[in-house]
Symmetry: D2
Subunit: 133 residues, 4 copies
């Protein structure tokens, strides 16, 4: 299962090189992740209400081609790994047929105080189904 969100590149996301600054891609990953979770009826807010905060352990992005101001881009997000206490998302940023960037983020489930803990079972199940479908 891959979830696709569409968005426009904003002016303040560019830098003096004339193209999008590399930091913005990590913001887009967040948007893709949030919308994938929403499509699974498991929004970040619901996760947090259930006492599960998705803390980042690792984030990586490979840049293939520049993104320009006002580009209409797509963020394709999928769950690629699920563990008892963690989850890995993969992202592709595309514009038309062109892949602009690919990356992933690895998260652990923590309580409000930052302690790592297992995902609530119902969320774990949804993540696993999302990965396998």
């Amino acid at each position: 299962l891959s979830h696709t969100t569409e968005m426009r590149v904003r002016y303040h996301e560019t830098d003096k090189m004339g193209v999008v600054n590399h930091i913005s891609h990590f913001r887009w990953f967040e948007v893709g992740r949030a919308e994938l979770l929403r499509s699974l009826k498991m929004s970040m807010l619901q996760l947090e209400k259930a006492g599960c905060f998705l803390v980042l352990k690792e984030a990586k992005c490979e840049y293939k081609s520049p993104a320009w101001y006002d580009d209409l881009i797509k963020i394709e997000t999928k769950v690629v790994e699920v563990r008892e206490k963690g989850v890995k998302f993969h992202y592709s940023i595309v514009r038309g047929e062109t892949v602009l960037a690919e990356g992933y983020t690895i998260h652990v489930c923590t309580d409000g105080a930052g302690k790592v803990k297992p995902f609530p079972m119902r969320f774990l199940k949804v993540f696993q189904e999302a990965m396998e479908s």
Copy 2:
């Protein structure tokens, strides 16, 4: 009393026009405000520990001259108005003799839940002294 902080313009603060994006100035205001408070022995963290969160009510910036990547800029911050429940800071962003921007922010003191309340007396006194000195 005016407090001065020095900092460098970062690459990701520029945009495709080649100069600093106007949003960064509000980030610099925050740096100036934090350092002014620290110089008054009343850091944001201390304020928050005392149950006072500085919520923004108004922010304004007038742009006089562009800032460029890697510019060494100064943020001159001062307290210009103090009330029982609020405070106003004024900022000048300068590079050498050139004023790049001027602005202000108005804040109210709130408890953790967002309810406006008077500043703790000892902080109020420090704000007033800072304004008059």
Copy 3:
């Protein structure tokens, strides 16, 4: 004429106070402005191709009510003043019936080198129509 754009509050737009950091509102203003221009068939890119860069001279925001993560917000943007060399936009950020913030930005038309110049006549006309309609 008021143009409305809808968007979601992102996680990285919040700060440790639990609500949206005040800087994000200026990012939203940019989105509102870009979409208003697009609706007038006069995108930022078209303006820039015609040699007109919209440089910020002044930006202000008044904060009425906090915005929260994942809020579905609307940005209502309109042209409120048009001059030969400048334009002023007004913005309201709303969530349902609640006005979260209001503000404006004032821009001048500059050539690529930063020199202020009159708007190309066809753009001036569109701005004026947008203001009066």
Copy 4:
């Protein structure tokens, strides 16, 4: 050779989880990289004047421990790989004895139009010396 820059965590770098949002680390990497280059008498601006733009190909960060508002952090940056057309930097973000995060960025040298090209020889030499020292 490792170059160390010190800085303070800013309020707007935190998010509603109460700690620094993971995106800020990539901003800090940029600061570390810029200051390392400056210490080598080869600032980003000098590189760009010589027709060499450092375009990102890959960025990764591993998060070890949360950073808090107002933390005084150090960014330790070093050159870990040098090729004819590319360079890799490694970063450690530390607070006192605690490693908060580690990461790297890989860049290629491009001309203004985005075409990959070899580093000017004098810069290549400086990178190599920085790596070996």
